[in-house]
Symmetry: C2
Subunit: 291 residues, 2 copies
Amino acid sequence: MTPIKAEIHSRMDGMTPAERKVARALLANYPSAGLASAASLAKTAGTSSPTVLRLVTRLGLAGYPEFQARLREEITLESRSPVHRAEHGEPDPAINAELNAFVLPRRELLERMVSMVPASEFDRLVKLLAAQPRAVLISGGYYSVNLAELLALQLDQIIPNVSLAREPFGRDSGKYLDLKKNAVVIIFDFRRHEMASTKVAQQAKQSGATVVVITDQELSPSAADADIVLPVPVDGIPFDSFIGLMVLVEAIVEATFRQTRDSGLKRMKNWEENIHAYRAFAATPHPEEES
Amino acid sequence: MTPIKAEIHSRMDGMTPAERKVARALLANYPSAGLASAASLAKTAGTSSPTVLRLVTRLGLAGYPEFQARLREEITLESRSPVHRAEHGEPDPAINAELNAFVLPRRELLERMVSMVPASEFDRLVKLLAAQPRAVLISGGYYSVNLAELLALQLDQIIPNVSLAREPFGRDSGKYLDLKKNAVVIIFDFRRHEMASTKVAQQAKQSGATVVVITDQELSPSAADADIVLPVPVDGIPFDSFIGLMVLVEAIVEATFRQTRDSGLKRMKNWEENIHAYRAFAATPHPEEES
DNA sequence: CCAAACTTGTATCGAATATTACAAATTCTA
DNA sequence: TAGAATTTGTAATATTCGATACAAGTTTGG
């Protein structure tokens, strides 16, 4: 059964002016406005109750009581959804209360991440990657390098020329020296353990590469040289959390995959085959890498 | 204004049997049940409408209409909360709709993680770690090794003798051969890229170490040799997600920290000092590791 | 610009609802 | 166990609500 809200949205065009007023009043305070009397809804909408009734019947409902019953049903359904249950209401006794205490603040972090990352910046990065640049070089800090590596490994499944530079000034310095135009450099730079990332960013910028910096809200100095900056909240009590960053990484991978459709799919298939071939080989003499 | 639900909960004790029936019926389907007529609520509760009315007035409300108005108010308030807005309804225009689409399914994953990890197993692992075993050895698979490393790095801040074995049968095989009793081995083992983790687990078990396996729901074969198994959901459409695993890792670290209070805090301070000393050293000749 | 079609609000009626009074049933107290 | 107090349901009542008929107003099409 489609929600009344959706039904109204889709029928808005074919409504008469007065009916539209009712629809707006209902949607503005959905579903509360519909749970009071038809007269009160008419009043807040600035029309009369017959208009409300007419709208309801035109929606295919038998009458106002049925309309309200549907609304109540929707409320019931929604409050039974697992997401809602976690937000409000009594904790499921089958749930690990202690663990849940760790999850709650992290969920807030996700909220903030979503409203913090500008859609435009995110899209630009994804478009950039989906265009398959000549090189994608990824670096990170003491902790964040692990997320960087995860990004590198997963991106590598979708587009070519991805590599991780664990030590930009050590054994991986060659990768940075070889940078050409059309290259993309992604730098993870978070507080606490500040880093030489500023130099990495500057150097990359001078090579003509597109510089992407993923950092926390107190923008790192490396953001100055960046073409794209993705801010991610990481602060928590008492420990910081990389949840936001993790989701961002996964989102980048998934969005890039969607935008490369055919070629990305193709590469993933090749990748899988290679893995299997490798396993067949590795299994016989001595076991090696895994999950 | 306190929610009616809370008011009912706190007054449950002082209610008469019939009123309690009404209260239960209302809470069982809150707030829907209260938004229909008093008679219908009475019917589902198995009593009469006067009883419903009496309960309502005893709650301090003037009458049933006022009671319903309060319920509608609560609905309005809740649907205006930022959390709810993110879940359902129109997306906040300031929000990145595309990114949000990636966050939503991952939040469900967190739900499932919380209800999937048994509290007892989690607690046992934390107690084990907080007791500061002689050695904590951590291994992971192709992707999950990055989460394993994150766990190792962060645990190392809190308790001694933590190390990561990237290649249990390669350069890190010594670490496994040196295993003694009182050691703890944590193995990340997820599907897709199955691994030699079974052998690692077996070997560790034979050395007398406590074996902890963190895996997805289709329990890996290594779970057979494990003393503690922490199942984590990772399945997603179309890509898997490590969000659940990430939160679990952070939860393990944080819970362990809480249980080691003094000694953990002390170690963290030493740690910080070392980092600063290292930075002071590294900054002068040539930059190195970072954020 | 006129007439037909369509909207919309007022007034009215019947039905459903909340509310109250009262009596039966139950529980508590001595 | 007897009486009092409390709880609970039945029945009657007054109010509100949804629904409908109808007329005034508006828009549309020729």
